[in-house]
Every structure is written in structure tokens, then in C-alpha cells.
Symmetry: C2
Subunit: 324 residues, 2 copies
């Protein structure tokens, strides 16, 4: 695999390598005939520019990474494809770096970021992170990073996420409009995202004057400090699974009440204990586009101050008809 370099072309054409370089870049100043000769020779020789050399001199590799644990879950590969597509329209190439939640692999990957072959990274943070030392270190160096879907409190890295507050309010309102008279909030408080969803629902329900209870774990039962008005009960959660698990655990109490359910992203059409089901579909494509846009800008204008958080609206809330 004898590597063909610009020098080979230069020799063949009786030119200097710098002329070859300029010709290949389509430099205005080069005589059209010369350029044609060079380009032709390059093609004939099967010349491929050496990107390592280019990255070295340019200080840029025109490469972005998507760093995430794995691509098995639906949400993960959707994001993966969305980010890949979003990068299409830029001057960058995107590659996926998987760490499989393995500590060593994660460290190794992040270490590679600041080593000249990657200009920036979209990071899907691990769910149960104890120590984000490495991300923090990169952030300190102003290495271009963008988080998606989730953000990490205290980490000075921009994040592109759903407007969880707004989405949660919409979802609660739709359930109220469907007649719900009491609300069970199953978002939990494991991370900033679900806390924001809880807060949104809370605010909306307060405004509507409807009673609610917040459940930390699907195993907890809810309390009505004073009896709630008659009428359907709404269960709101991030995921379908949570709603179903809760209904299963509290089948007894729920047996004689009509139910409404609301969750994010999708309801996969399993038998449902709720009469009506509403879904708030996150706009993963838009999130990916924004993330890539933000990242590219951070790479190209490192000094420009950057938004700390970009909010993306959900797609219109859908009502799903569950199969029985």
C-alpha cells in the first residue's frame, strides 16, 4: 500500500508540493491548466490526502464524536441516527464511540477527546454517574462538549434538552381536559430531568386547582390528605413501564376508578388499564440538530459565549388508543 503523497504528484507534474496543495484546494490564483493537470495526476495516481497531516497543521480534524454507553435501547439508537443525520449538513464527520458503561473504556474515550483527532463531542451522559471528573476536566479546558437529553447539575457544559417543564404542563393539562380529577405524579426525583417534569406538572395542577400526589417509587402508595373529587385519576410518568408497574402494584385501590395515563416518548400499544392515554413525544431529531449546531459553533468560535441550555419543544401531544 505505497502511500501516494502530494510530492508524488508534484514530481510527476514538475511542480512544487505547495502548488499541488493549492490546486487541490481549488485556490483561485492557480492557472486553470495547471490545476487540471494536478487534479488529473492525483486521480490517476489514486492520491488520498493524509488527514493526520492535515489535522496536525490545521489544528482541526473535522471530526465530531457521539459518546454514549450503548445503542441497544430504542432511545439511544434513535438519538444516534438523529445526530448522525444532523451532522450530514455540516463540514464534520461524526463517529460513534461506545463505552458500554465500562469505567476504563469511558476514561479512555474521554481522554482521547483532547488529543487532536476529535474537535468536539455530543455526550449522552451515563445514567448513574458518580464521578464526572473527566467531563469536568474537559469543560475546564474549554473543550467543546454538548450534552443531550440530560444535563448535569454544576457541570459547565451546554445541554440540549426537551423543555421538560413545558411538556409536563401540557401533558397534565391534556389529562385534566380528559376529565382527570386527581393526579399521581410518578416522575420520581432521580435526576434533574424528572425533577423538572414533576415541577411542571405541579405548577400546572396548582393553577388548575386540581389535587395531586408525588410518588418517589412505584412501590409507594399515594395519600389523599383529604378525599379527592370524584372522577378519573391520572397517572403521569416518564415512561409507559412506570405507569404499568404502578397500576399493577396498586391494582386493588385502582380497580373501581377510571384511569387516564400520560407519559413521554411512546406508548407501545400494550393492553392498558387506562381508558385514555396521552403521549408527549420528545423531538429527538430537533434535539440532535440543535446539539450538532451548538457543537459546531463551539468548535468554530471557541471564545464566543455559549448558551448553557437549549430547550426543544415536544411534538404535539398524541392520544394513543391502547389495544385490549
Amino acid at each position: 500500500m505505497a502511500r501516494i503523497t502530494q510530492r508524488d504528484i508534484a514530481q510527476l507534474c514538475g511542480l512544487d508540493t505547495s502548488t499541488v496543495s493549492r490546486s487541490l484546494q481549488g485556490d483561485e490564483r492557480i492557472h486553470e491548466a495547471t490545476r487540471a493537470r494536478v487534479v488529473d495526476a492525483a486521480r490517476r495516481l489514486g492520491y488520498r490526502p493524509n488527514l493526520a497531516a492535515r489535522a496536525l497543521v490545521g489544528g482541526r480534524a473535522q471530526v465530531l464524536w457521539l459518546v454514549l454507553a450503548s445503542v441497544g435501547a430504542t432511545a439511544d439508537w434513535r438519538t444516534t441516527h438523529a445526530v448522525t443525520s444532523a451532522t450530514e449538513s455540516t463540514d464534520y464527520d461524526l463517529f460513534v464511540a461506545l463505552h458500554g458503561n465500562d469505567e476504563a473504556r469511558y476514561e479512555r474515550l474521554l481522554a482521547r477527546l483532547a488529543q487532536g483527532l476529535v474537535d468536539g463531542a455530543v455526550v449522552l451522559p451515563r445514567r448513574h454517574v458518580s464521578d464526572e471528573r473527566l467531563l469536568r476536566e474537559l469543560a475546564l479546558r474549554d473543550y467543546p462538549l454538548v450534552l443531550v437529553d440530560v444535563w448535569i447539575d454544576g457541570l459547565p457544559v451546554p445541554a440540549v434538552t426537551t423543555d421538560n417543564d413545558g411538556a409536563s404542563r401540557l401533558l397534565a393539562r391534556r389529562c385534566a381536559e380528559a376529565g382527570a380529577r386527581g393526579f399521581v405524579l410518578l416522575y420520581g426525583d432521580n435526576n434533574p430531568v424528572v425533577r423538572e417534569r414533576t415541577a411542571g406538572a405541579r405548577a400546572e395542577l396548582a393553577a388548575l386547582g386540581l389535587p395531586w400526589t408525588e410518588i418517589g417509587s412505584v412501590d409507594d402508595a399515594w395519600q389523599e390528605t383529604e378525599p379527592w373529587p370524584d372522577g378519573p385519576l391520572a397517572m403521569l410518568a416518564s415512561a409507559q413501564e412506570t405507569v404499568l408497574a404502578y397500576c399493577r402494584r396498586n391494582a386493588g385501590r385502582l380497580a373501581d376508578r377510571r384511569l387516564v395515563a400520560g407519559c413521554f416518548d411512546e406508548w407501545r400499544g400494550e393492553p392498558s388499564p387506562a381508558d385514555r392515554v396521552f403521549v408527549a413525544p420528545q423531538d429527538h431529531d430537533a434535539i440532535a440538530r440543535q446539539a450538532v449546531r451548538l457543537l459546531a459553533r463551539r468548535v468554530e468560535c471557541p471564545n464566543e459565549p455559549t448558551e448553557r441550555r437549549v430547550m426543544v419543544q415536544i411534538k404535539p401531544i398524541e392520544e394513543v388508543v391502547p389495544r385490549f
Copy 2:
């Protein structure tokens, strides 16, 4: 993001950059004290080697790619994770390059391969390939490539695949042992893999003296040139879906016969028209390991002749109990 280079360390320590370079590589000849000083300074300054420079001088980037269309399908992300893990134990890092069956993206990706930032690639060929010009071109240059799961006739690139012939024979035999007296082979002939599976089953059934028919498309009905012996009928295919589709289309003819089914990889426990179901699980982990091993060797010993095809045995055939 002022990049720290070996020169910074050299200045700080009052040494030459070459000494720094050697110290950082753990060169034997360097005075232990010097080495310690250098390593310490590097750590304090937050030095990260520039991999573009290293790739340039070394001619190697220590990077491998997995090139595939997408990671949505189960088989694809399984392979992705398997290849990622298999690379763990090598000196290479692996990144995933997705082309989404988009012609332009595919070309751009393959073009990048021979450009100094990637030492070799595991390629999961596209299913419906008209023109593998680019792969052929890379192969011609002896660029290190390895195909997995599938191979392409006439393409001089090593492939790591299941021993489809052997697997298919085993599957046929198990169905015969379960009492099947007639066989419908639904593998089709779209690609070399399924042709090999057809051939394997054919050979086994000939040896067992059992009758079979080969169906090109699930829409075709089968012919018994002379009536088959009484007893259960076996339907063999690469995927569960094919078996189910065929049974659906031929529900009438099959209604009064007992059925046995056999397929590759998995049977996802849907209601089944067959009493007994056998699955030949491909060993994706082993395939990935072999592929990475082969690729690494091709990168490191470019002149050494390479195996054209590596066959991996399936895992033991499983009987699945379908839910009704």
C-alpha cells in the same frame, strides 16, 4: 484551550523534547530521576499527546472502524457491541461509522478509510449492494478490511461468518429427529449466505433420504412431485418472520398437518403454528472476536497472506417453547 506540547514540558524541565518523548514512552536508557521529573511535569501541565502528530510519524493511528448502515436492528447493535468489546483487548480503539444506506455518506466514509486516520475496518456490507466499487478499490490497495456475517462473491476481502452449511445441516437434522417427514426450505437465494444454507439443508436431507422443496419467495406454494410420507412438516428459514409469513400465506394447505419450524438466531416467543421450534443461534461474539483478531493481524502484518474466510460454529441448537 492552549495546547500543551512536549516542548512545554521540555522547557519547564530544562530538557530537550527528544528526552521528554523518550521519558514518556518509558525508554530504558533514561535516568529514572529525569523520567520522574518529566512525567510529573506532564501531569501537572495536563499534557495530552497529539495523536495526529503521532499518527503522522508512525503511519498508524491505532484506530479501527466498524462500518455499517444503522444500529436499529437487533442483529446490528449486537454485532456493534460485540465488535466494540472484542477491540477492548487490543491496542486499538474502535469507532462506529454509520452510513444509513445513504450512497453519498457511504462513499464519504469509505473514502476516509485510506486517509491515515483509520488503520482498518470491519465492514457489515449493505444488504442490497449494486456496486461495491469502493470496497474493491480499497481491497486492491491492500487496505485492511474484514467483512462480517456476509461475504461478497468476487471481492478479495476476508470474511468472518457462521459456518452456514454446517449450521443448516444441524438444524435440518434436529427437525428430522423431531419427526419431520417433509421439508420446506424458505432460505431463498438473495445472497451467498442463504444459498449456502439451502445447500447445507439439501445435502443433509439427501443423506437422510427425506423429501424437500425449495421456495424462493414466501408467496410461492410448494410442490410435492410425488406425495410425501405422512408426518410433521418442517419449515426452515433464516428468520422467524419468514416462517410466520409463509404459514400465514399457506394457512389452508397447512391446516391439517403438524408443523416443525427451524430458524436462525432467535424466535421471539410469539404465537406459533408449529408444535416444535428449533433455533440455530449464531455466535456473534465469536464472529466479532475473530473479525477483530484478523483485522489487527492484517494491519500489523500487511504482507502475510490472509485467510479468505473464517467460519464460526453456531452455539448449540435450542428448542424454543412458543407461547400460545
